[in-house]
Symmetry: C2
Subunit: 302 residues, 2 copies
């Protein structure tokens, strides 16, 4: 049995995983702890409490997915969206507390591994998983292995420059794919298109999708733009690793009619001819609630 | 001893390679043969003639680098710049004629392997080699292996979209990196900047570099633009595979003052912060005349 831990900006989820299934799960706040050590204490305590609630087999390992995590070093590197603005060697900290081997990985890489091992990527030698959320994350599987890069930080498709001198991105640069097709990006597009400010009183992009379904012109146009940008961004990834399949993950991708259907068309148009018809595009096959935990657990098995 | 064969649009070079050195070489025209079979005959004959001129050890294999070659199938797939506008299974054709195993690979991949095995890429686990020539080719080494992709056609950085709705590219799409930083691209930039038409009466980009050295404003600006585009294109590749080193290959890259020096600066600026100072940029360490042959030979050893 493996503990899968998914660290988010506000909440961290903990699950007990066996054979690709989440047997039990709980969550703790990510914020509000005295420091990173106190957070690690709380994490370990939550894992132990969860494992103690049933007749679970022995815990053999823990996998942690977190933003800005470096799989080669086991360190969360100055994550802008987490409470600790310094390097946190969380793999070692959790390993010391739980007494089992612990692997820390980038959250997008974890999602990629989960999808590859248990989801829509099963059996694909060359695969790309793109997470559309607050940010845009990605994990590349090449030749049956996750691409980590020489410093453990490969697979940042969200920060591919899509428009030179384009929109400001949270990374401090301009024109990144993430600035256009993340939740923030879609909301910005809607605003730029003079959409109804009332619509954006709700968080996320569901509110824009709902508006589009009501016939709101700016909302429909927002998705059209997102489709176009995403089609080019994905086609740009294809020329590098030539994957057979791309899996999209995250709430934005669940908009079949507004996003996926037109995206499939635009993506094929955007592809270099030698890839035409050779890369398919699909949505995550994992339950939203379990995917991050399964992915984190999958980190320990590669 | 390995025969390294480099098939170009007008000329094909043949070399005998051992221990990373070209022992002897010759060339035949690529064009003017009755058909692909006649060309394969001529190739095989040239190899045999070359091997017969000295007391060379026995030929053990042949490696062929060619545009539009698919390493997984051994086929040159409808190459727009070669005389045969259909699929040519050249690996098998040469193997049958020479009686030794033959590997066919994309010419940019061959250059990458040559550079990785014998040149500036030696010892790098994660490497990117970009060839700046008539086109822009690339080969990605990830985790000590060449990235071929699910259909053998990965590594086409030249056809990454750099400018949406940008310049027409020879591939039929718009705004590809190749449309901006190939020989053709630089010449087009010079024309668009109202450069002196007399300068372009000479082929290639040497003429533009010479003009820049004479203080020609459009020529200087042409290189400045190329640097900027290339910096973004390379930074876009880095976010995918996170290489430790990038090696540039081809005549354009030999312009140290006009291209490489400013490029090193702009490239670091273009990089996402997590890669800052972690990716170095250098020029091929292989002799221009030998590189393609060594690369083709290297195809047989991986």
């Amino acid at each position: 049995m493996i503990a899968g831990i998914d660290i988010g900006g506000t909440t961290s989820k903990i699950g007990l995983v066996r054979d690709g299934r989440v047997l039990a799960q709980t969550r703790i706040p990510t914020t509000g702890h005295a420091d990173d050590h106190a957070f690690a204490d709380a994490l370990a305590q939550a894992v132990r409490a969860l494992a103690g609630t049933g007749s679970f087999p022995e815990l053999t390992a823990a996998g942690i997915g977190a933003p800005n995590a470096n799989q080669l070093t086991g360190i969360i590197e100055m994550a802008p969206n987490l409470p600790w603005k310094y390097d946190v060697p969380l793999a070692r900290m959790v390993q010391d507390r739980l007494g089992v081997p612990c692997v820390l990985g980038n959250d997008a890489n974890a999602a990629a591994l989960g999808e590859w091992r248990y989801g829509a990527g099963q059996g694909y030698k060359d695969l790309l998983i793109v997470t559309l959320g607050t940010g845009v994350g990605s994990g590349f599987i090449v030749n049956n292995a996750l691409v980590l890069g020489s410093h453990g930080n490969a697979g940042e498709l969200g920060h591919m420059t899509l428009v030179m001198d384009g929109r400001a991105c949270t990374c401090g640069r301009k024109g990144c794919l993430e600035a256009y097709v993340s939740i923030r990006g879609l909301r910005q597009t809607y605003t730029e298109l003079d959409g109804d400010p009332e619509v954006l009183r709700e968080e996320g992009v569901r509110c824009i999708a709902d508006a589009a379904h009501r016939g709101d012109a700016a909302a429909l146009q927002t998705f059209r733009h997102a489709v176009r940008w995403l089609a080019v961004g994905l086609a740009n990834a294809v020329v590098v690793t030539g994957p057979q399949r791309i899996v999209l993950f995250g709430g934005i991708a669940r908009n079949g009619d507004l996003l996926m259907a037109p995206l499939r068309e635009r993506f094929q148009e955007a592809l270099l001819n030698i890839y035409s018809g050779r890369v398919d595009l699909t949505v995550s096959a994992l339950p939203d609630d379990d995917a991050a935990l399964l992915g984190a657990a999958a980190l320990t098995t590669f």
